[in-house]
């Protein structure tokens, strides 16, 4: 049977508004699974590549399931009750930050520009985007369901409102005209020692952007916890633990940079450069990115607990040492690199807590 004849049975040419709506629905039925599969494949690949980190995260969630699952649900139920404008703004910001690093994949990846040339209505495009966003927001949906159970029927309208707000913000973030991060980094007036590495990282805006955002988010969480603990001993312990976690999150950058250097490594060896040139460049890059969350925490403690600054000075040296040391397990640890990095970071956290609390 000719291919077109096969299609003809499936897709009658629309002759009325009703049939046009049916045709739109048919396109949705054909295209939505393809978009979802693309998103699932790309996300699956990221999870597989980061399986050790995901395993650790999974163990953490299983160990502290009630706290980890119920805390955000309670927070959402509180926000749904209204009145906390700052909290709602924070949720909207988080929703946008979640989407930004993966917007290329969420928009349909390589097919998106071609799909843009097809005669599909704006409403169908929004419907397709919402379908993928709802799948991407599966964890949020779970938390909203828990919040609905916690808050009961009075909370439901508010929770639906939060979901609508999140989706609206994410839709906007999906289509916000943003400059290409590669061009941005290329234009930054950076020293040559750092610029090629930052350009190499900018080639992976989704994964690197997520890592950087996670480190900043972790620092913000630690600052909030420190405030809640009134900057007592627990506050410093949390800060140290979070810095260890940030080090673990950033350690994978060594692997990305090592792979990026592969084509040029031999050529660089022919130039009058130190044999440790690439090592130095990589260390400086990770230290630079690691310094942002560290400074956030140091400034927060400095403002609200100036007495803690001396400990932070000591911690700065130890933290730099951790970031440098993490290169070894990541590049030499083979398939267990992430596990070894986690053990190193955990060991460092224990020693650092003992040091700053002494």
């Amino acid at each position: 049977m000719p291919f077109a004849t096969g299609l003809r049975g499936l897709l009658p040419v629309p002759t009325s508004a009703n049939q046009a709506r049916e045709a739109t629905l048919r396109f949705y039925v054909v295209h939505a699974p393809v978009r979802l599969r693309h998103y699932a494949e790309r996300s699956g690949r990221v999870i597989l590549r980061q399986w050790q980190g995901m395993l650790l995260l999974g163990l953490l969630v299983i160990g502290q399931a009630t706290t980890i699952l119920m805390f955000p649900a309670m927070l959402l139920a509180h926000l749904a009750a209204g009145g906390n404008f700052g909290g709602i703004l924070g949720l909207a910001l988080l929703a946008a930050l979640y989407v930004l690093p993966q917007r290329q994949t969420l928009r349909g990846g390589p097919l998106a520009p071609f799909a843009g040339t097809l005669p599909i209505s704006g409403a169908t495009r929004v419907l397709l985007d919402l379908t993928v966003l709802l799948v991407a927001d599966a964890v949020l949906l779970l938390e909203l369901a828990l919040a609905a159970a916690v808050g009961g029927p009075p909370a439901w309208p508010g929770l639906l409102g939060l979901l609508a707000l999140v989706l609206a913000v994410q839709l906007a973030a999906l289509h916000l005209p943003l400059p290409d991060p590669r061009t941005l980094v290329r234009r930054l007036p950076l020293p040559m020692l750092l610029k090629p590495n930052l350009q190499a990282l900018a080639e992976f805006p989704a994964s690197i952007g997520t890592r950087v955002l996670v480190t900043i988010g972790l620092a913000a969480l630690a600052a909030m916890a420190a405030t809640a603990f009134h900057f007592d001993a627990r506050a410093m312990s949390v800060a140290v633990g979070v810095l260890a976690l940030i080090g673990f999150v950033l350690a994978d950058l060594y692997r990305v940079l090592f792979a990026a250097h592969a084509p040029i490594r031999t050529f660089l060896a022919t130039l009058p450069l130190s044999p440790h040139h690439l090592l130095l460049r990589d260390l400086l890059t990770v230290l630079l990115l690691g310094s942002v969350p560290f400074l956030m925490l140091a400034v927060w403690f400095g403002v609200f607990d100036p007495g803690g600054l001396a400990a932070f000075a000591l911690l700065a040296v130890a933290y730099a040492g951790l970031l440098a040391a993490l290169r070894w397990p990541v590049l030499r640890g083979g398939s267990l690199g992430a596990m070894l990095a986690a053990i190193l970071a955990a060991g460092w956290a224990g020693s650092a807590i003992a040091m700053v609390l002494k």
Partner: protein, 209 residues
């Protein structure tokens, strides 16, 4: 009768101007866009197809403004990019099905004839990432004839095609030249000559950045 009109088009990428001042009116016929590598031919085709927004200017397809009436305009145009935009996991048939569904139509007998001429039938069930470069190109070309496009934009259509498929494409372009604008970018002088296309030198058309 003007089917494809561009007025004062400009393209930019991240604030860097690629070209500007492109204006033309094209009636039914075959047009070959030629020029040096990197001059902006593919960018111009992307703009005309609606795959990229122009930094400035207007495009109309058979009297429909591409920006103001995008669906009506896109119903009347087809675009085959230089590289396959299909997901690697899609089959060739799924890709054609998707394009046909977007145009609310069937693939039609012309697509059937192209599938036969390109010997594409056996590849329609294969994943796109398993197809050769030439087969992927044939798939994009077959998709360009889905519906009743009055403007067909092809980016390097003869790249990677075998002789028989290239001849079939030349013949197909010839058949439709009386009713549609077929504008393609090409570096292959023989292909341009075989189609009998009117040559448009990109450098004469645009003010470079």
């Amino acid at each position: 009768m003007t089917l494809l009109a561009a007025h004062d088009l400009a393209a930019a990428y991240d604030g860097r101007r690629i070209f500007s001042g492109v204006s033309f009116d094209l009636g039914p016929g075959i047009y070959a866009l030629t020029g040096r590598n990197g001059s902006g031919k593919s960018t111009l085709l992307r703009l005309l197809a609606g795959a990229q927004r122009p930094a400035k200017g207007h495009i109309s397809v058979a009297g429909r403004d591409l920006a103001r009436d995008p669906i009506a305009a896109r119903l009347l145009l087809s675009y085959a990019p230089d590289e396959s935009p299909a997901y690697p996991f899609m089959t060739g048939g799924e890709f054609l099905h998707m394009v046909a569904a977007a145009k609310s139509t069937t693939a039609g007998p012309i697509v059937d004839s192209l599938i036969a001429a390109f010997a594409l039938a056996s590849s329609l069930g294969e994943r796109v990432d398993m197809l050769s470069l030439g087969t992927r190109k044939k798939l994009l070309l077959a998709a360009a004839w889905i519906g009743t496009p009055e403007v067909i934009l092809l980016d390097e259509p003869s790249n990677a095609l075998d002789g028989a498929s290239r001849d079939a494409l030349v013949a197909r372009i010839g058949v439709d030249s009386a009713r549609a604008v077929i504008l393609f970018a090409s570096h292959e002088a023989d292909f341009v000559a075989d189609t009998g296309a009117t040559v448009i030198a990109f450098d004469d058309l645009a003010s470079a950045a």
